[in-house]
Symmetry: C2
Subunit: 343 residues, 2 copies
């Protein structure tokens, strides 16, 4: 066993633990920030120095009680998060100290993970934070949601909400690769410029300034064939009123609703009936057996320059609650990541 | 040309014409009840003495302005309705006076229809009103919705709302034929007894008396694989909270909502995401090219005794507005039909 940073139990591990089920917007007092020893990996395990943490809208759902696609984070447990880091010590022959690996590290400095549940990442192929974004779960989410549920055909009209976000930006670009006309919805002129000029959307709509219904109707004169929905709420209802026949609405998320006390359902859902359309939900974990296919496609598009990405990096594990709030306020521009330690 | 009832232009034709777009519950003053000459069929047309009229939830939607799967009924136009009747005069070689035909007759005594748009019905095979119910559009609606969107597999759990209604009763029985466990939701003890004892549901839930959530959870311990929704509203939301993985929600109608000013969307739609489930809508007209297949299957099941049906017959064209209200109040028991004239 290799111990480059000295005896591991001496390593101080700061953790955010879930202290309360949040009501409305997540806040610092929903967590406890503690320091414990890092511990030592057992057989088949690795100890990872977390370098970057992924901040995802799904985190808000994990904090609620009740049945979902994944168990809620228990009160007192380390807050769940995906991360990427350097292996400090390994008790598994397949992983070596010094390797860069991604996995569900949790919001902490050090994580003990099962070696078979981490994925190696090559720092020479892409900047590490990208493995949490376009080349990680958000990229895979866009890949499987758009292709498996959306089934885009050349010439179809695709609308993506949160189009500058970690998932949306990849969905937009895959839709363009598949020959679709793509309209992105984002908040503010900078994000809209990015979506149109860098990601290649045929049109970008600033939901903070424009009349979304009017703009969508104008940019989608033949109706909307595919809607990749990350936001829910009013925009979902507007899109439903503009569906083309046999449209597919991909329910990936509903970030506008996660912190709302009263959840708003899509009032215009009977548009599904009128247009013989479907609305289908998914989470990326449903596609676990197909991750290698997805990773390979994303890596190839990235290396050929067809898949661009942008990360929004905030320094310091200690900022976690406030950085998470940025996500729900739409204040991040690109995949939101916390840098926990220098590479 | 055969004119068994004398000169046709002398025939008095009573009509309900749409006089106003209804607000809330449809009412008599939304129509004008007039008497005009029946008129004469032109080349390729037939004049039909309407015997029975079909009263359908979809009628409420046809009365609203705005785009849908079919143009709204124009103000001043005869109210749209399916009906069955006897050909009085024909100007088409394929249809003879005396033939019994079904078609979109409208709410009136006599209809002039294109011969190619009517369907012949055999009064020896089934009572005529059944051609407006289990063997007509409602039966076809259940057939295509359940089989094409629901894709039932043996042993799956199917829930049908408005299970004693024209569409629901057929959906229930086809689901049983396909080997599913079927739970029907209906209003009142008589309908529930009918659904369980005559239609063969494994369980019936009286939404007027029982706690639907508790009862569904109890009767569907492995979750709901298929929901055939005719009602929308609260029951849809409850079902969404009880979906099994990869569930299919068939949006056939939303009778609880058609007369509501504020349409309620399904608040629990993110259950689609959690369960990788889908919600898909349709109207029976989408399946026009497959009607012969559907009619044959329904007729075979009916003749072998596997498909039972019940009609609720109200006498008199003049009752139309109040009879239509019965439908939205759940006061009919079986397919609601107006007898316009004796056979």
């Amino acid at each position: 066993m290799c111990e480059p940073e000295g005896h591991m139990s001496a390593l101080e591990n700061r953790q955010f633990r879930l202290a309360a089920r949040p009501a409305g917007m997540v806040k610092r007092s929903d967590f406890e920030f503690v320091t414990v020893p890092a511990g030592e990996p057992g057989p088949g395990e690795v100890l990872v120095r977390v370098l970057y943490l992924s901040l995802d809208p799904a985190m808000r759902g994990w904090m609620n009680a009740g049945r979902s696609y994944i168990a809620p984070v228990g009160l007192g447990d380390v807050m769940r998060a995906g991360g990427i880091g350097r292996v400090v010590a390994s008790q598994d022959p397949g992983v070596a100290a010094g390797d860069i690996v991604g996995g569900m590290t949790g919001v902490q400095d050090y994580a003990i993970l099962k070696a078979r549940e981490v994925t190696k990442a090559d720092p020479r192929l892409a900047p590490l934070p990208r493995y949490l974004g376009a080349l990680g779960m958000p990229g895979l989410t866009a890949y499987f949601g758009l292709l498996d549920i959306g089934r885009p055909k050349e010439g179809e009209t695709v609308v993506v909400s949160a189009a500058s976000g970690a998932v949306g930006a990849v969905a937009v670009q895959i839709a363009k690769i598949k020959g679709c006309r793509v309209v992105g919805i984002a908040g503010g002129p900078d994000k809209c410029r990015y979506v149109a000029e860098e990601l290649g959307c045929d049109a970008a709509i600033d939901y903070k300034k424009e009349d979304v219904r009017e703009a969508l109707a104008r940019h989608c004169p033949k109706g909307i064939d595919i809607y990749f929905d990350n936001v829910g709420g009013e925009i979902l209802d507007i899109v439903l009123s503009l569906l083309a026949r046999r449209a597919r609405v991909i329910i990936c998320g509903a970030i506008s609703q996660y912190n709302q006390a009263a959840f708003q359902g899509p009032r215009n859902y009977l548009s599904l009936l009128v247009n013989h359309a479907l609305m289908e939900g998914f989470v990326v974990f449903d596609y676990l057996p197909r991750y290698p296919e997805g990773r390979q496609a994303l890596a190839e598009w990235a290396s050929s320059g067809r898949l661009r990405a942008r990360e929004h990096i905030v320094d310091g594990l200690e900022t976690f609650p406030e950085t998470l709030q940025m996500l729900f306020r739409g204040e991040n521009f690109g995949k939101l990541v916390i840098r926990v330690a220098p590479e």
